[in-house]
Symmetry: C2
Subunit: 329 residues, 2 copies
């Protein structure tokens, strides 16, 4: 299976995407990757790959780059950008899917404009699995659709359920609808309508969840608009940073806490890892007609490889087809 990887996307491009492709192809010998970007800047990073791995990595030349600060509409104007070409490879079925650690807005815009929406789906949703306390929860949407209609929230729930059923093997995943409190009177009109749609559906609706339930993991899926979802995952990242800095400051010039920290290191690392989203692999953009995976902007090689594995897992399970079939009915 061939996946198109945007070699120019993210804070550490092109070195880390290239190294990530090598790593993923080393770990999975069924995998082929087309690195899309400036040929000359990609080649040096492939020099150390084993010959059998190197044979499964192709370079597709693209001389434009969509920067992290560019307007998402660049996906229209920059026709030779690495992201646009990677997405066109998905549309033409040359590639099974594409992965980028680049500009989120452009990835979402390209998902809709280049790869195309699945018929019946109003807006795509970016899904991210997080390691909550009680379970791995899937959060959707974390930034694709900033403001949502009730229909969007309802469709996120349906797509999330298919994703969790096929990939995590959970037969009837519980769905929490994010609100500003757990009582039914909370939320606004959009949330109330979405709640009614979920209650009337065949989905396993588990009620409203609020901010404090998310890290605990009270449901398999948490549904929110992209603005709120984005706020929460970024807030979680900021807290991870905060915890690291405080621990460092606290133990810096003190002997006993330093010994303590050394003894507790495994526990502390486990805590920090919870907040390091990039280590959790990629976030699938659900609702588009092909596999589109967003990797974290500061992804290193392991995170890119993780995103490639997420993509190939989704492809093997025919995730896109499952969503299409569900919305055809």
């Amino acid at each position: 299976m061939l996946f198109a990887l945007d070699a120019m996307g993210g804070d550490n491009a092109p070195s880390e995407p290239c190294k990530g492709a090598v790593l993923a192809c080393t770990e999975d010998d069924m995998l082929s990757v087309a690195l899309v970007g400036k040929k000359g800047s990609i080649e040096p990073h492939l020099a150390s790959a084993r010959p059998d791995v190197r044979r499964r990595i192709h370079i597709v030349d693209a001389d434009e780059v969509i920067g992290m600060g560019d307007n998402p509409a660049s996906i229209r104007s920059k026709k030779n950008s690495s992201l646009r070409i990677a997405m066109e490879m998905v549309r033409s079925r040359e590639a099974v899917g594409c992965i980028s650690a680049g500009n989120t807005g452009a990835i979402v815009a390209g998902g809709v404009l280049v790869v195309g929406r699945i018929k019946g789906i109003d807006r795509p949703g970016l899904a991210v699995p997080i390691p909550a306390l009680n379970r791995k929860s899937l959060l959707i949407d974390v930034g694709a659709t900033v403001r949502c209609k009730a229909l969007n929230l309802y469709q996120f729930a349906r797509m999330g359920a298919i994703y969790m059923r096929s990939l995590a093997g959970i037969e009837a995943p519980t769905i929490g609808l994010f609100s500003n409190g757990s009582e039914d009177i909370k939320g606004d009109d959009v949330i109330s309508t979405a709640r009614e749609m979920l209650m009337a559906s065949e989905l396993n609706y588990g009620g409203f969840v609020e901010g404090k339930d998310v890290p605990i993991g009270s449901t398999d899926i948490v549904v929110f608009d992209g603005f709120t979802g984005n706020a929460l995952i970024k807030f979680g990242e900021g807290i991870g940073e905060l915890v690291k800095v405080i621990i460092r400051e606290e133990i810096e010039h003190k002997v006993l806490p330093k010994i303590g920290a050394a003894l507790m290191l495994p526990a502390l690392k486990k805590i920090a890892a919870r907040f390091e989203n990039e280590k959790n692999g990629g976030s699938p953009l659900l609702g588009v007609d092909g596999i589109v995976i967003k990797a974290h902007g500061n992804s290193k090689d392991k995170a890119i490889a993780g995103a490639l594995h997420v993509a190939s897992g989704f492809a093997r399970l025919k995730g896109t087809d499952l969503i299409k079939e569900s919305f055809e009915l």
Copy 2:
């Protein structure tokens, strides 16, 4: 100065509000508190107060209670509720301000309907100071106005600036407008319009802030709609819980990490305290014509006392008058 304290509000009522009143009056001999609630259930908790403290604590009988799950509209129908009576004491100027750890929706509704809005203010905002890494930041709104117009966000910024100037002594507090990214193209129409209003104002506007900036504390004030603000502070609480549980699990049956934890205890406590909102005292409801302080629902005596001190500090600095003067211009 007399403050009305809702003795029946919160998860630990009436014992903790009563103990909190005793504690606060012991710590500050200029303070008087009217405990509003069921007389018979309040009295036993005052038995151990010093006579000079006990003399400054009054009981105002109220036979109804607004529960945590009640509709905010209960503030209209339950005319004999402890919260309603406490708020009427503010309206009639019998009390300088009121404090409740009860139903947030009812407190906000009562702030508008009973205490009344300040002229010129469209909607009130609930402000909460959080100990971010670089500074104490004031978050507004964390749940009073679920969905906002641009005018509301702009007014939250103005009120927050007055609060931080008078209470924290920061001459020109920086204002961050919360969005789903730091670039100017982010946000929706409401946020864009609020951004323009802030840029055209005399306020020290510091640009968009996103989720990861909040725990770091990149600005003195962070402005958002009540839905998003509420989501973030509750998410922070949930993460605090998560961290505690993981630490406990990790060290439970292991000797070395347990020793490590003991040595690191001061550092760990400092981290946990960052997420324990209730210890940060009360959240003022800004924009109403009197002092209304919301204490955390699970407040213990210290948190209630903290909220009383926040109220008296705000009263001494004539915070409500400062906001009124600013909006009269």
